[in-house]
């Protein structure tokens, strides 16, 4: 009996040692885009999971109990930031009782703090302006150059948490950087026809895409961010589209299509439904996949 107990304790200690030696870092991300980048950088040294799915607007996620369990076990939490997750991440962090991933800890990385945000508000922000993010537009992952920068920050954070594999993280980042930069040139040449064009978006979520590919978004279907269009606001938009001969409307898949169809009927404006995140469509599994799909959707439209 005593022997068995002794062996059991020995086994327990051994498994604890093995666990600490071979532990892979548990990385939780708030979006699938972050998870896609992190999994390339971390390779087999990390386990990545996204708290939300790419078919939904990450701003409107809810703090589900299953997320509490996941954040409790996480070694690193990657967030989009700039108020994107304001409705659900603060209560989640409070319930998760994990000091490793609280803001300010090495296990918490807010990527919005590491990129140049567009649309920062000058002057006072009130909710009369709609769903305006005072700290800047949070859809920054839609510029491939930002994606490269995010990958760099993630590789640095992983190296800090797991110095043993720092060279691997750095090498993975370098490969990612090379891959995305090469593809970016390709994507740009494929979307040459959009250069300098004016475009309308449904929501203010494509400003970074426009910046990356050289077109400009002059108006939105939503009269104010997050505010549903009305008949009056749509009619005003029709007048503008006709007057300025705007040829393309871009929107994320999860918005209602009725307004877009109405605009199309009235003005012949072309509509491109663009995936906004990794996971938005079943075959978008990696960060470059996302731009492949966007470029594919944009290539066939806006050519006239």
């Amino acid at each position: 009996m005593k022997l068995i107990l002794k062996q059991f304790i020995y086994l327990l200690l051994l498994s604890a040692v093995i666990n600490t030696v071979h532990a892979t870092l548990r990385v939780e991300t708030t979006t699938q885009d972050l998870a896609a980048i992190a999994s390339v950088i971390g390779g087999s040294h990390i386990e990545v999971h996204s708290l939300t799915i790419g078919t939904r607007d990450p701003h409107f996620a809810v703090a589900k109990p299953s997320m509490i369990r996941r954040v409790y076990r996480a070694d690193l939490l990657l967030v989009i930031g700039a108020d994107m997750e304001i409705g659900w991440l603060p209560p989640l962090l409070q319930s998760a009782r994990n000091s490793r991933v609280q803001p300010g800890s090495p296990g918490y990385l807010d990527l919005s703090e590491t990129v140049k945000l567009l649309g920062k508000q000058q002057g006072p922000v009130t909710r009369d302006m709609g769903d305006v993010h005072a700290r800047g537009n949070p859809h920054y992952w839609l510029d491939p150059r930002n994606g490269v920068h995010m990958a760099k920050m993630i590789s640095e954070q992983l190296s800090q948490l797991d110095p043993e594999h720092a060279t691997d993280y750095y090498a993975n980042f370098k490969a990612f950087e090379k891959n995305v930069n090469t593809k970016f040139q390709q994507w740009r040449s494929e979307l040459k026809h959009l250069n300098g064009k004016t475009v309308i978006a449904y929501h203010t979520s494509f400003v970074y895409l426009a910046e990356a590919f050289g077109f400009s978004i002059v108006d939105e279907v939503e009269p104010k961010p997050g505010i549903s269009p009305s008949a009056a606001s749509l009619n005003a938009l029709i007048t503008r589209i006709k007057k300025e001969q705007i040829g393309l409307l871009i929107m994320a898949p999860y918005y209602e299509r009725r307004s877009a169809r109405y605009l199309n009927e009235e003005t012949d404006i072309q509509i491109a439904v663009l995936p906004q995140s990794v996971g938005a469509e079943p075959d978008i599994q990696t960060y470059p996949d996302l731009f492949d799909a966007i470029v594919k959707a944009l290539k066939t439209t806006g050519e006239n």
Partner: protein, 432 residues
């Protein structure tokens, strides 16, 4: 003179050093290369250290500056309505403290919420509510004021202060997050108008399972109108028994609560919460009498794979509760055990962004002849409503209630309510 000598010394020593290294280099090229490699590695390591320590921490500071303020929010909840019964009867039907209960206008709940992180160890929150009573007087209540621990080991968390007891799903919710304009009948009966809340402490433990599983254990004061099934206000009537002034004589006379909550994602679109709750505490119908309340709750939510602003969704929430109330001390000729039970089951269908249709069924009854007691008779209520959220920060809700209840002379009542909510300040949490 001294200066030139100094200069000369420096120059010659420099030449000597240079010469010696040059000579060494010629002599043993390999060693130098190795040394160089070592140096390079050292520089690399230093550079890495620099980027790791200096860069992210300076960025982290940036984050702290940006989102460390106190969370302050004010929400206002108002209703107007009309019922087939008068205000006296209506106050028995709409027994919740925040229910609209007048023909005309009701200020249901104006709530000031302040919360934030105290220090590395604690978070804290306080909710102060303002109401206008029947006499037009302003009533202020300290609804909640509590701290929670931030990072106890082994998945533990402590909470202390004045707070809503974690019993079922609905009891903890503040009126502005309810799916209906009023509180479920069985909760008003078992927990009183304000819901079950009191002063105390509770520990919770995140069970190391593959799914979310949490166990709560708490103890709170059992006295007052917000713990109505226990040591309620002396002189009040409970099921025909006049309550005495009974104080806690020790830990035996406190209210104990336990809850086991499980959350499982059945798929990307379907999630379920299952809970079991129990309450044990003294009641004031006698000097040794106890009350026990048991409950089970289920919450099932489906959200479409592709959804805009969280819509469309379908949510089903049901709670079943049972109460065993020892009335009067043993030996007392009127000694009895009062058994009550009740349930509510509600469905919410968010059919397009901002729009939710709701349907709720309430049922409550008790053993024995309780037909004259508005808080214990057999009662059924069917409620249906339509809610519109123009943005996340406001809502408009129209609700119709159909009551079938024994104590009313007419046996039935119909009421219609229009509710409005605004929310100012900090972003409200998106509840699951």
């Amino acid at each position: 003179m001294t200066f030139t000598r100094y200069l000369l010394t420096v120059m010659t020593s420099g030449i000597i050093v240079f010469n010696s290294t040059a000579l060494q280099a010629v002599e043993s090229n390999k060693t130098t290369q190795l040394q160089l490699l070592e140096l390079k590695q050292q520089i690399n390591a230093l550079e890495k250290q620099l980027t790791e320590t200096v860069l992210p921490s300076s960025l982290a500071k940036n984050t702290e500056k940006a989102n460390n303020p106190l969370q302050i929010g004010l929400s206002g909840l108002f209703a107007m309505g009309r019922s087939s019964v008068d205000n006296t009867e209506l106050s028995n039907l709409q027994a919740g403290g925040h229910d609209p209960d007048k023909n005309g206008f009701t200020v249901q709940n104006v709530e000031l919420a302040i919360g934030g992180t105290v220090d590395p160890y604690l978070d804290a929150q306080t909710n102060i509510i303002f109401l206008i009573d029947d006499a037009g007087e302003t009533v202020v209540e300290l609804e909640e004021a509590f701290f929670t621990s931030r990072n106890l080991p082994w998945g533990l968390q402590l909470k202390g202060g004045q707070y809503f007891t974690e019993f079922g799903r609905q009891n903890k919710q503040h009126p502005h997050t309810w799916a209906f304009v009023d509180q479920p009948v069985v909760l008003s009966r078992f927990f009183g108008g304000d819901g079950l809340r009191s002063q105390g402490i509770r520990a919770s433990w995140l069970i190391p399972a593959d799914w979310y599983s949490e166990f709560y254990l708490g103890m709170q004061n059992a006295k007052g109108e917000t713990v109505s099934s226990f040591l309620n206000v002396p002189g009040d009537d409970f099921g025909g028994y006049t309550l005495i002034d009974r104080n806690a004589r020790g830990f035996d006379d406190l209210l104990y609560s336990a809850r086991w909550l499980n959350g499982i994602d059945l798929s990307d679109t379907l999630s379920i919460n299952l809970g079991l709750s129990g309450l044990w505490g003294p009641n004031a119908s006698g000097t040794t009498t106890d009350t026990r309340i048991m409950g089970t709750d289920i919450y099932l939510k489906w959200q479409a794979e592709t959804s805009q602003r969280g819509y469309p969704f379908l949510a089903w929430h049901t709670e079943v509760l049972q109460r065993r109330y020892e009335a009067a001390d043993p030996g007392d000729p009127v000694q009895d055990i009062l058994r009550d039970e009740g349930l509510f089951s509600q469905l919410q269908w968010g059919f397009k962004p901002g729009w939710i249709a709701g349907l709720r069924w309430d049922y409550a009854r008790a053993d024995g002849d309780t037909s004259a007691d508005p808080m214990r008779d057999t009662r059924k209520r069917l409620s249906t409503n339509l809610t519109w959220h123009p943005t996340e920060f406001s809502k408009l809700r129209l609700q119709f209630n159909r009551d079938e209840t024994e104590h009313l002379a007419e046996k039935t009542a119909n009421s219609i309510w229009l509710q409005m909510e605004f929310s100012l300040g900090s972003h409200m949490a998106h509840t699951f």
